[in-house]
């Protein structure tokens, strides 16, 4: 088999044992890699119904089909577990050198079972596995942990996926970090923390071979060349942060916990401003010829010197959404989140919930007592120092940080129960996952995509904001086409998340990002790597299968139609200002959208999956368990 070693490594942290599982080629043809394979491994290895922070929740990591080769942007891996935030599938992607090292070590995936009784890290040295004491790594931030491991091993080529202090403290939205990139969302870091797993280090010294290297190189070279052209310019020069002003203009920039859609200081926290004043260097992941990571530094003020990669989703959550119009503070917040290893989106949206709760009197100054401010403090929107202190308190689980570290859904539930309040109305989450940087009150196809998403409030899995914002669909209304649009959009995204290939390359195959433009090129790359005979329809299937295995996982964990919901604010409080003012998504609209979406997917009215559909997709065992 080319493109794969055929081997999955199982590691049992409880008993300190390892074993190898081999999978047949047919299995790889269905699940491929990335989020699909990781979710499938999770389906196979989890104890259904378990607590996500228990030993029964496995950590499942799946490599990429193109990892370790020159295929551009193919250096990514998928990771899945049951999410401590949502209780449903928590699938994430990360990239860069960890992926390529693990490919060269000869593994297609890892499944980590159980829990250790002491803090350890696992070192996979080609086909030899060691359980190593992590006591010298405890408390180190993400970058420092990786460097310490490399120092201990004496080898730069040892790469590691690690958790920082947030993961050690089981902050529910803690992430897993490697090489400056993150498997950011759904709380993987907390799961690793619950297993006392500080890091997973890999060294891989074998070569990677492919079925048809000459063809693969020719295809890759052309894509590398095209990736320097105008189709990737926005990523290379500005980065995704250009969306701050875009969203502000159309009136949908999340501001002050999604209370407004226009931020008066948007210019000061815009991508253009970042580019002009703060940019230090643009970096790339392994195998990436685009390079989109805009490393930026805070220049003056109390946070001068803070530096990290800034992206749109991190930026809105830590600036306009907090009423903060100072780029320095936004950079500082994102830097804290990156260093301690927590999801910058969930952190920002949780802090904004706390700020609104304070402004509405649900929380008071005294609730914010901490070592730095023994009398407490007043985290009104726009209070930079309060935001920074809250991020630190969450990381350390100090004072109210302990409650905030549970995420907005649980924090609001706890406070409301204790105090008889209604702060759940402004907990901006779907299924427990905090919302992304697009207010969907006037992006109605996207609202459907978010509500029905398997991961929760996730823009990446749905991607339906694209047709809404671009005007391909009328974002202010709903109609009978939206079910199909939402389905096609999420299955398109799922293809990239499964191979994986970074979506930023999608226009560099032929200049057209749609399926007709991208699928034939992707099929050629797959065939040159593996020797298979994939065609257009097979690529379509990759996306449908990926989405279906995740949906099946959720159904088995107790998902029902009611779980596909929208935040109260988006259903009851229209925006008052800006180009998108005056809209909500009504219950009627939402139920209608769900109906046509389930229909478009070929599911039942309850959103369950017919047996025949699962069998058609090659998932007979899944059909047995949850098919109807």
């Amino acid at each position: 088999m080319y493109g794969y070693s055929g081997k999955i490594l199982h590691v049992d942290l409880t008993n300190r044992k390892t074993w190898t599982e081999t999978k047949p080629e047919e299995w790889y043809k269905i699940y491929i890699g990335g989020v699909s394979m990781a979710s499938r491994l999770c389906w196979e290895n989890i104890e259904p119904g378990c607590d996500p922070l228990s030993p029964e929740n496995p950590i499942c990591i799946a490599n990429g089909i193109f990892a370790g080769t020159p295929v551009p942007v193919g250096g990514k891996y998928g990771i899945a577990c049951k999410s401590p935030l949502t209780g449903f599938i928590g699938d994430s992607l990360s990239g860069s050198w960890f992926t390529t090292a693990f490919k060269r070590a000869g593994w297609d995936g890892f499944v980590i079972h159980g829990a250790s009784d002491e803090w350890i890290y696992v070192f996979i040295d080609d086909n030899h596995v060691e359980f190593r004491d992590a006591k010298d790594l405890m408390g180190l931030d993400t970058f420092a942990t990786e460097e310490a491991i490399r120092e201990e091993m004496g080898d730069d080529q040892v790469r590691a996926a690690v958790i920082g202090p947030a993961g050690e403290n089981k902050v529910r939205f803690a992430n897993v970090t490697n090489d400056g990139r993150q498997a950011g969302r759904t709380g993987h870091g907390a799961v690793w923390g619950s297993k006392k797993l500080k890091a997973l280090a890999v060294r891989g010294t074998s070569g990677v071979t492919v079925a048809d290297p000459e063809t693969l190189l020719k295809l890759s070279f052309d894509i590398v060349d095209a990736a320097q052209g105008p189709d990737t310019q926005k990523y290379r020069i500005l980065g995704t942060v250009s969306n701050v002003l875009n969203m502000n203009r159309i009136g949908l920039l999340p501001t002050r916990n999604y209370q407004q859609g226009v931020f008066e200081d948007a210019e000061l926290v815009s991508g253009e401003h970042l580019h002009d004043h703060h940019k230090v260097k643009v970096m790339a992941c392994a195998q990436c010829p685009i390079a989109c990571e805009q490393y930026s530094r805070a220049i003056d003020g109390p946070y001068a010197g803070a530096m990290t990669g800034i992206e749109y989703e991190s930026l809105y959550a830590n600036s306009s959404n907090l009423g903060i119009g100072t780029m320095e503070t936004a950079i500082k917040l994102i830097d804290i989140e990156d260093e301690c290893g927590m999801d910058s989106m969930s952190a920002g949206v949780t802090i904004s919930w706390a700020m609104e709760s304070f402004e509405k009197g649900v929380l008071t100054k005294e609730d914010f007592k901490c070592a730095k401010y023994p009398e407490g403090f007043e985290p009104a929107f726009g209070n930079d120092e309060a935001a920074v202190t809250l991020a630190e308190m969450i990381r350390d689980r100090e004072g109210i940080g302990d409650i905030l570290a549970q995420g907005t859904k649980r924090a609001a539930a706890q406070i409301d129960e204790e105090r008889g309040t209604e702060s759940w109305k402004w907990a901006m989450q779907i299924k427990g996952l905090e919302l992304p940087g697009y207010d969907a009150r006037a992006l109605k196809t996207f609202a459907l995509g978010l509500a029905a998403g398997t991961r929760g409030g996730c823009h990446n899995r749905s991607a339906a904001y694209d047709p809404d914002i671009k005007g391909e669909t009328n974002r202010f209304t709903v109609d009978e086409t939206r079910g199909k649009v939402a389905r096609e959009s999420e299955e398109y995204a799922a293809v990239y998340d499964t191979l994986p290939l970074c979506k930023f390359i999608r226009r560099s195959f032929t200049g057209r990002a749609d399926r007709a433009g991208a699928w034939p090129a992707i099929a050629k790359l797959i065939n040159a790597t593996t020797g298979w005979d994939f065609e257009y329809e097979d690529i379509d299937l990759i996306g449908e299968r990926a989405h279906t295995i995740k949906k099946a996982f959720n159904i088995r964990e107790g998902w029902t139609r009611e779980d596909d919901h929208l935040p109260w604010r988006w259903q009851h409080e229209p925006l008052k200002e800006g180009a998108s003012a005056g809209y909500v998504v009504t219950d009627e609209e939402l139920e209608y959208l769900k109906d046509i979406y389930y229909e478009a997917k070929g599911w039942t009215k309850e959103g369950l999956i017919p047996k025949e559909k699962l069998v058609e997709l090659g998932m007979d065992d899944v059909a047995e368990e949850i098919g109807v």
């Binding site: 080769t69 020159p70 790339a284 992941c285």
Partner: protein, 164 residues
């Protein structure tokens, strides 16, 4: 510290342009071995800090110290091109050459335990493959003189004309 002469070419990396994609390492190892393996690459990236990354390969030093250090005379230097040639029959993997090289540009094949070094892809029609592939044009086959000229020109344009 010995330096390159003005007549020998070598592949150099501009750290301000390098983004750390490692494509050079994949293409070098493939060209030389048929496999994609950064351990077999004759050019190596190094990421020293979060935003400092660059690539290093043989600098074709004048009176190359690796040649002088080799106790078995397994290394010779071409007087016209400065390229280092390794006689696999004589090399025994003692790694004195690695000690001698100030740039870390010579490596040991982990399987054969013999020294390996950049040969600027003299048997490829389009020259060094890493230079051909680098997406950011950070790699260049150049001489010290040309590098210095380039830096002076860059300085003049930036400082005197104020362009970036």
């Amino acid at each position: 510290m010995p330096t390159s002469t003005s007549k020998y070419q070598y592949v150099t990396c501009d750290a301000t342009k390098c983004v750390g994609c490692q494509l050079c390492e994949y293409i070098c190892s493939y060209t030389k071995t048929g496999e994609f393996n950064t351990y077999r690459s004759r050019i190596r990236t190094v990421r020293a800090e979060e935003v400092l990354v660059t690539a290093v390969t043989c600098r074709t030093c004048e009176d190359a110290p690796c040649v002088i250090a080799c106790p078995r005379d397994a290394l010779t230097q071409d007087s016209l091109t400065g390229l280092i040639r390794i006689d696999a029959g004589r090399c025994d993997g003692c790694t004195w050459c690695i000690e001698a090289c100030d740039f870390g540009a010579i490596s040991i094949n982990p399987e054969s335990k013999l020294a390996e070094i950049c040969d600027q892809c003299t048997d490829e029609e389009d020259g060094p493959q890493c230079v051909k592939w680098c997406p950011k044009e950070a790699l260049e086959l150049t001489t010290p003189d040309r590098r210095a000229q380039h830096q002076r020109r860059k300085l003049a344009v930036e400082e005197v004309l104020g362009h970036r």
